[in-house]
Subunit: 148 residues, 2 copies
């Protein structure tokens, strides 16, 4: 049975669930940094997922990446499945700017995380789910009712 | 028209072509390190590829990852599309061991590359293509004829 790894639970806010993956916001204001975790037990590598799940993960990753690129006006996205420290399969989606503290290096291990204020954490979550409402029906942060 | 980025051409050996992607061997004996480059011009992000190309890239990535995991007896794979330095879309596939020089950190920027000897470079290429002959019909390193 799927359960979020305690380290991921500790370091992130749950934004909501795509059909396959849980979407997390890393509590590090140094970068807009999101993580997809397929809700399947005992997975460590992408190729271990069933083929249909692999394709669904790809769709969710590209939907997320497209939205992130647009709303954050990213210079580049860094998308990575590493898992050297947290074995549960999870895929980083990090918005990068030429002006960010670690550019052009990868972000891992360079700077300690800068936790968001509770309000900024919520605002970052709300900002994203407003652009993902077609994919994440029940977000973990409050969203204004849609006017149809 | 697709052309391999000069920096990738300089740092790698071309192993061969999957239906979509060129497969490269990074000339760094510190890790078994391979790179897939979709042969499409002007691509920087996975989501910029046509949907069919995205699915083909996923298939090639998982075929490669499964073979790498098995033949190198990997403790973990690190799969990443970064592109902060080389803008052409390319996806790293790096075999990691708990005993390698950078574990558990990501590999980028920690140690200077250790070039293979010409013979070791060829042997690493041959070792891989023998397990990918169904996908890479015309490899860049010599392979013994198959006995059917």
């Amino acid at each position: 049975m799927f359960a979020l790894h305690p380290r991921l639970a500790q370091d992130t806010l749950v934004i909501g669930d795509f059909p396959l993956s849980r979407l997390l916001l890393m509590n590090d204001a140094g970068y807009p940094w999101f993580i997809l975790v397929p809700r399947r037990a005992e997975m460590r590598e992408i190729f271990e997922l069933d083929y249909d799940d692999q394709v669904q993960l790809l769709k969710e990753s590209s939907q997320l990446a497209m939205v992130l690129s647009r709303i954050f006006e990213a210079d580049k996205l860094n998308i990575a499945a590493l898992g050297n420290m947290v074995p549960q399969l999870h895929i980083h989606h990090i918005v990068r700017y030429r002006s960010d503290q670690s550019w052009p290096n990868p972000v891992w291990g360079l700077f300690p995380p800068k936790p968001y204020s509770p309000r900024a954490l919520q605002e970052t979550c709300v900002n994203l789910v407003e652009h993902l409402h077609d994919f994440i029906p029940d977000p973990g942060c409050p969203v204004a009712p849609r006017v149809c």
